[in-house]
């Protein structure tokens, strides 16, 4: 692009988790802040009742790009977009479609959906875990049974299943069942003490790799593990290696969901007047999602397993492996 003109005004309407949730709100905000073409600001919501007024406040402030962070805000984003066709909108974790009474949906021109095929990456994490486990048991749990949470767990379980199929092994996954859609949850995203106890429950069942899907919830066990070394942790959303204050030495990898990258992408589209409402799907292919490096544990992951994981990734990208 040519020499930067004035930066665009990028406004994030956050979900109720708050900007410091070590999860998608935080990822989105950090991405927005680091965008070179935009001045970013955000509004936090205390409940879903705040979504509409927050968006309206952005419209009044003449934001040029308004991004709803979280599927819950989709409805209000679409409504506002239809009323303000000149403003560019985006919505994280939703396709931003406008549905009629019969639930026939069509895309809205000025809304870009930012969705992620998260299970592709957690599939890799599942395969990796199955290859790494010594006890033959791995585990996953969530904060609350939201679909944006369970999609990680789904992919993870399928990854393990795939490993079993390929290798003829019997690694089992505790904490989630893809057919009954039932599993282990803390019940909220704040009670870290309960999450720690739950993780210990997995440990007692013999699981030696745990994937917690719940923002901060997994942090205490990751930290505790540094002493006990009983299990490895897999983080989600943003690479836990830079994020976690403790537990790096037992952090196997992270199922990365590049919300920030996708937001920077939309921002630069808007700045360069290339914005369209076409759906964005973060995949392994476009690096919208990825499996983070193994960092400190790199040496412990067998080279063969590394290769296999890379191969599966390529197969998924190529479309030859359907997960």
């Amino acid at each position: 692009p040519s020499a930067q003109a004035a930066k665009i005004k990028l406004c994030l309407a956050l979900d109720t988790g708050g900007v410091d949730d070590r999860s998608f709100n935080q990822g989105a905000w950090e991405g927005a802040k680091s965008s070179p073409v935009a001045n970013a600001e955000y509004l936090a919501a205390a409940s879903s009742a705040d979504f509409a007024p927050n968006i309206k406040a952005f419209v009044d402030k003449k934001c040029e790009l308004i991004i709803g962070v979280g599927f819950a805000i989709a409805g209000e984003i679409v409504k506002s977009a239809k009323a303000n066709p000149k403003i560019a909108y985006a919505i994280v974790d939703n396709d931003g479609g406008d549905c009629d009474a019969n639930f026939v949906c069509k895309p809205v021109k000025n809304v870009k959906g930012l969705t992620f095929q998260t299970d592709e990456a957690s599939f890799l994490a599942g395969y990796l875990s199955a290859g790494m486990t010594k006890t033959g048991k791995v585990a996953t749990y969530g904060g609350a049974p939201y679909p944006s949470v369970t999609i990680f767990m789904d992919g993870y379980v399928r990854g393990v299943d795939y490993y079993n199929k390929v290798k003829g092994k019997k690694v089992s996954v505790l904490g989630w069942n893809t057919t009954t859609k039932t599993g282990s949850f803390v019940g909220n995203f704040t009670d870290q003490n309960a999450a720690l106890t739950l993780s210990k429950g997995f440990e007692q069942q013999g699981a030696d790799i745990i994937l917690p899907v719940g923002g901060n919830l997994g942090a205490p066990y990751a930290a505790a593990n540094e002493k006990t070394k009983k299990a490895l942790t897999i983080w989600v959303d943003s690479d836990g290696y830079g994020l976690l204050p403790a537990g790096k030495s037992t952090l196997l990898t992270t199922v990365v969901k590049e919300i920030g990258t996708s937001i920077k992408l939309v921002a630069s589209d808007v700045a360069n007047k290339k914005f369209t409402g076409a759906l964005y799907v973060g995949t392994l292919k476009n690096k919208g999602i990825s499996l983070a490096p193994y960092h400190d544990l790199s040496s412990r992951v067998p080279g063969q397993l590394k290769l296999e994981v890379r191969k599966i990734r390529d197969q998924i990208i190529a479309g030859t492996l359907k997960i």
Binding site: G18, D20, N177, G183, A219, P245
Partner: protein
Amino acid sequence: MKKIRSNVQKRRLQGVIIISLLSSLSFLYFGLLKPGKDVTTFGFVLNNEWVIIKEWIIASQTGARIFSAISLVASALAIFAYKKERTIVFPVAIASFGILMSFLTWIASGKFIPFTGLLQGGLLLSIPLIFGSMSGLVCERSGVINIAIEGQLLASAFVSGVVASVTQQAWWGLLAAPFAGAAISYLLATFAIKFSVDQVILGFVINVLVIGLTDFLYKKLLIPHQNTWNSPPTFEVIPIPILSKIPVLGPIFFTQSIVVYLMFAIVAGVTFALYKTKWGLRTRAVGEHPTAADTVGIDVNKLRFRNVMIAGFIAGVGGAFYTVGSVGAFGKEMTAGAGFIALAALIFGKWSPIGALFAALLFGFATNLQSTLSIIGVAIPSEFMLMVPYIATIIAVTGLVGRVRAPAADGIPYSRGGSH
């Protein structure tokens, strides 16, 4: 003419009927009609305690029958005790245990139940609740309603986390936390006692203030500088020599961090002090009939003030449990409503320390039981599993506890000649 029973007998009858019914049902269902087909494995060893049995493997059906049979026998004993107009607490406790075990052997057919871990986890989940309800107890026994338990826990978790992080000493965090709890108490005491503010409003407001301020500081201070401000070390587990080696009991009671031992000490201390010492006598007097206490020269408001402060110290240790005892960092709103559950436990336990202790333990155990079941893959929708501790509490409160009586002067500010 219908036979008239006393309320106690009525409640006993209710209990006897429920327990007998459940025992029979569990025998029928788990033992005969829908038996588990596989074996169930119970694990007993958690750390390095002496091993008597490491694992106990039993055919699910047989196990369910054995345990149901135990509960049936206990139910019969309960009926006998009821007939003799004696307490049915012990047979009912045994029967409940039998039913629970029978259920576990049935549902975990083909699975593993870490029995010791199940109990230990339940205890750990109830630690903050116990501290919280002891704080409530010391306040309310002297006549000040404490709804600010949540605020006390959260504020002290915050302060202990920050202090321990800055000093890199868990001990400093543990020492600082009670003062944070006491600071909240100071607010409660001053406004409730000195300025006669409605104590329920006050409690809610204090919670709101603490949540607001800790969220704010978390965002402004702890997130940007997490390595300095929010990386507290946690206490190591201190196994008590010999005792920690006892199977089952050792890992639960004698292989814990200092905060858990403090919990036992505080419950024992509060129980002793409340019923056996001068302080306790006066505290209870002031909570029941402050004017009467006043007429024998007890300074009602001074004692109440002091007790509210003590309560703050107690809750403070509970707050420290979160950061330096367990989690190892402060998290936004990490108490997640524990203060309110503690309040419920206090009421459930009829404002007695032991009662509150058991109520909190029940809640913690129910929570961990549902976790364990979800881990072994019980195909009940997770949302319903998560309801288990709350439903269990409702059943226990309505079925076993019934009417409770708060200290008579609880919540009423005292001023001379004000009320009589």
